[in-house]
Amino acid sequence: MLPELGHFSLILALCLCALLGTLPLLGAARGNTQFMGLARPLVAGVFVFIGLAYALLTYSFAVDDFSVTYVQQHSNSLLPLRYKLTAVWGGHEGSFLLWTFMLAGWMLTVALFSRTMPLAFVARVLGVLGLLSVGYLMFMLATSNPFDRLVPLPAADGVDLNSALQDFGFIVHPPTLYMGYVGFSVVFAFAMAALLSGRLDAAWARWCRPWANVAWAILTIGIALGSWWAYYELGWGGWWAWDPVENPPLITWLFGTALIHSLAVTEKRGIFKSWTVMLAILAFAGSLLGTFITRSGLLTSVHAFATDPERGIFILGILVLSIGGALLLFALRAPLLRGRFSFGLLSREMLLLVNNLILVVSAASVFLGTLFPMVYQAITDDLISIGPPYFNAIFVPLMALLVLALGVGPLSRWKKTSGNFLSRQLALAALASLILGVILPLLVTGAMSVGASITAALALWIVFSGLKDARNKMANKKSIAAGLRSLPMSYYGMQLAHLGVAVLLTGAALTTLYSQEKSVLLGVGESIDLGSYEFEFQGAKPITGPNFRGMEATIAVRRDGESLRDLYPERRVYLASGTPSTEMAIDAGFWRDLFVTLGEERGDGAWSMTIYVKPFVRWVWLGTLLMCFGGLLAAADKRYRRVRESRAEAAVTEPSAARSVDGIAGVRV
């Protein structure tokens, strides 16, 4: 009975979305306040019913209702409760329900925190999101209903959740990633509302910016969580595999990164409007592409859901309709998007354009590499693989270019900067990062390394140019403390996020360059040296978990004869499915990770195992954390929260107000 109630809730939500996608939009077009006013209550209704459906599916998991096909397929009575509750997103249908639930959540947030925007605008934003929800809900009800019953008889027990998913990473990664993904639907809706209303000015950009920043920050952390999870769960010591399912979030993220920068220009200077709107469309397309790729089975990948062509066609339909419609609207409204200000070849505008150019080219290249195998096969009937070596060869040089521009951007000025001024400002930073870049690897490792030198120089370039910029900003203040206080929150956000880039870059490059690994067969009491560490195998013993059995080895780690700690890698077999799996043992540290993967027993109690020493690998995620906090800080800047009076409204749309001279952060109007 309860699953049917869930099904019914979804149908009700669909009906409400159909109203939401029409009446408020109609109201906004006709100036009918009553219709516009319906948007917020309708959103509340949509949220309640999708939330109810979500809660009921979770309940079915909690009480082991194996008469529901989806529950039977993705759970088991032995599954620990925390995985039962989260197994909701362990498969296609449920994860799509999570997706729509997230969208409903974002809609509710927009409805609640949009008091500073005109009603017509809010009605349009929510209306567009309502239309999207109609597509998603129809897709769910038509092709992937999570509440379908198992007929004629319920199964005795469930198949079990994929053992690779039974992990903390599975609890946190999908919801965060989806929340970030879906956040870009909101930004997309903002762009569409602007096109519909014909109002695309600095005020629009300022309404839009916090939402874009938050979506971007959450997507950043969502991707990072996935990478972290893959690192410790898959056991090959890697943190990014350029898998076809990993790439769409990255593509979305790259477009999103370009977007938050472009929005800054649109807010400050009233230009790049068409470009900003285009990026909002592209970021949204990236998120839909991600869904499409995982759910259509078009590309083989480690974590694609079951393949079903019908679903693929349906999602493709949603993609074509929404993106096609958006582009059509874009073309119709093109005259509206023309900017009014000129800028010099060397100016902050130009540097931001270069930033956007590199990010968009990177995104397009990742897109090309991801979909090329499919096109190649359609044309030549032959198979081709495109993997990490290709992507690294393309992506790494582009990112290096981006970092070079990143150092110059914040110090340059709007409209026009003289080359003289810039080189005076940056000469010291450039020189220092070059020299230190060459020296540092030599000092630390005792050997020259071109890769490490370039890495260190680029990372230091970000840090030094950032410091120089901060110093400039505080030059007129009496003391450093006063200077620090005077800087707006969004400026801190920018600096923090850029520092995050430096940290991420350092981690990514150094862990690739300096990681060591050894695969060995060790008998009890035998040990092996790797780097400056000694690993001794002290034996293995059987263990039993709630739904698995396995073996646990004890590895004592020593450094210079001094005992560091013991590591306990495991080898498990899950009872319900019989799938074997390994649980890595990791000693995480700021400077390096020690990492042991257990292989198998080869007689006499000897076990094969792979041991890794991975310097700086934590910096990869530390960097993304900094970027995420940076994005959130920027969104929390108080100028976004201030209720705007009509006087201020008028001021920002006027050309003179846009001629601010400071950083992306900007003088508060």
Partner: protein
Amino acid sequence: MSICAFNRVLVAIVPLALMLLLSLSAEIAQGQVDTFEFDTPEQQQRFRRLSDEFRCPMCQNTSLSGSTGGVAEDLRREVHRMIVEGLTDAEIEQFMFERYGDFIFYKPRLTRETLLLWFGPLLFLGLGGFVVVRIWRNAQNNAPEIGELDDAEQRRLERLAAETTRLKDRS
């Protein structure tokens, strides 16, 4: 892409995907562990690089080094044997190509068909650069002429702006 072309792609891919799934669906990526001996550290490095560059032909999407599957294990053993026997990278690649075709390479070889793949990013960069220049030019043409500030004026303006902010913050 039209629905029709999409169908063609699906028709081409679904049987293949099924074949792969049926043949060895259990080969998911889970840390591989084997214990090869090498004569020199260079050999070990080459082994590491090559087993990263070859795709496990029976897995969903992992390199030889990332798979525990039997086929990947056999191929790793082959690569190890060839390295120890002193074959060059090119010879090893040729051996793999003869057995498995282009599918085995994670880094596609440059052929007529992969021209777009390898030079696509450059093409994007060129196109993007063109768009950037056009945006800049358009902005020049559309803009009403406003007097430019020189560096001294700019600094003065900045001081004034900072002053204003400070006064505002105080109030």
